[in-house]
Symmetry: C2
Subunit: 241 residues, 2 copies
């Protein structure tokens, strides 16, 4: 059930990128009618094709955005966590959600009604600029993802994923995988088998995976692999998708 | 050299999606300082990382948007043709181009200065809404592309590409490939060899490729393959990247 925002919710929501550059009172005005909901794992927050009645901010946990294909497959577009917002563009343009959103861990998500957002923007066009900046950031991430899917080998994508985890973590010796390996594979555009093979290959450079924990000995080396996998190995790794 | 817009240029530019929903006089005001340039093949119109001083509209020909990776690879993000616009988000937010743009055929491209756009939006916030709608469309395409790269086999992507070509063509019997096969492969996230294998495989369903011409006998069948490649074949095709 949606509930009013707690003090903790507000602390996260006020700081999201979508509100950057706006005056505190403007932000308070936008989020005045916001609610938050705690989702169980696998619970859905928005459905692809439904009218966009709100946009969302992840307060805690992980949410995956995915599309259902005509053949019944599921394509994971992105995974979102604390401080990430999604569906701003659909809410802003009053169109339909282009993806579904589902909690992959217990997750708390803030919800800001689209009709209220439209009213705020009408009253204060500056909000439109900050929304566009936020939408541009999403687009940038999508462009990077297209780049990686087209150019990087599976091992490179896994290496890059682990580097980003290690860098987000203060204690670089052991990193918890944020969600299960099936989802990690889907997010990276790999089959679960290819992900396992990539993990096995990365053992050679000191990456140890034990259940949901990863130990990365040498982040710099891993980053080097992400950028430029050895040519000789690469040809064969390219076929690992 | 940039030149004033011709009558033919204006006919294309006035109809682009980015101006949809705006009054004719508003569109005229936005495009008042626009120029157009005819690019030779391989000539660049914008460079990744440069400050975004304009956004662009393809009037004729094909332009590829691509990113240069740290390892020296080139990732083709999208190919744009008549009526497509690009770099609106970067121009709007006054940030930097996130990709480079280069003509892949002789191409004519309209250029609308970013500073003028900012002034127009300041005077008339409605323009922001139509810009966001256009940026949303780009995002939708990127999301679909991520979906296809993650879920579809190489053959499926090639089938989908040929279906879209066939549908854009009135006479469905013979379709000209819009640009060379190396670029088609890059756009679809395939190696040139994988593209050749996909073409060979699609011969079985009546697709004939002769130099830069493709004859598609059965568009419906091709579309079916794009949506749902036969499971048994698919496993092996998935490894064709």
């Amino acid at each position: 059930m949606p509930s009013k925002l707690t003090v903790g919710d507000l602390q996260v929501i006020r700081r999201v990128a979508v509100f950057r550059g706006l005056k505190p009172e403007t932000v308070e005005h936008i989020i005045a009618p916001a609610t938050a909901v705690t989702l169980r794992r696998h619970e859905r927050i928005m459905r692809q094709g439904d009218p966009a009645t709100a946009f969302f901010i992840v307060i805690d946990g992980w949410v995956k955005l995915y599309r259902s294909t005509l053949s019944g497959d599921e394509a994971v577009i992105e995974t979102m966590t604390k401080g990430d917002s999604f569906a701003e563009a659909a809410a802003f343009t009053g169109s339909r959600y282009i993806a579904s959103g589902e909690a992959v861990t217990t997750a708390r998500v803030g919800r800001i009604p689209a009709d209220h957002l439209a009213k705020c923007i009408y009253e204060n066009p500056l909000i439109a600029s900050s929304m566009i900046a936020s939408i541009s950031t999403h687009m940038h991430h999508l462009v990077q993802q297209v780049e990686h899917l087209k150019v990087q080998s599976g091992v490179q994508r896994v290496a890059e994923f682990l580097v980003s985890l290690a860098l987000a973590n203060q204690d670089k010796s052991a990193v918890a995988l944020p969600y299960d390996k099936v989802l990690i594979a889907a997010q990276l555009g790999l089959t679960p088998e290819s992900l396992s093979r990539a993990f096995a290959r990365l053992k050679e450079v000191g990456v140890a995976i034990d259940a949901a924990k990863v130990v990365v000995k040498d982040v710099a080396k891993l980053r080097q692999i992400a950028v430029n996998d050895r040519g000789s190995v690469r040809g064969s790794l390219r076929t690992m998708h």
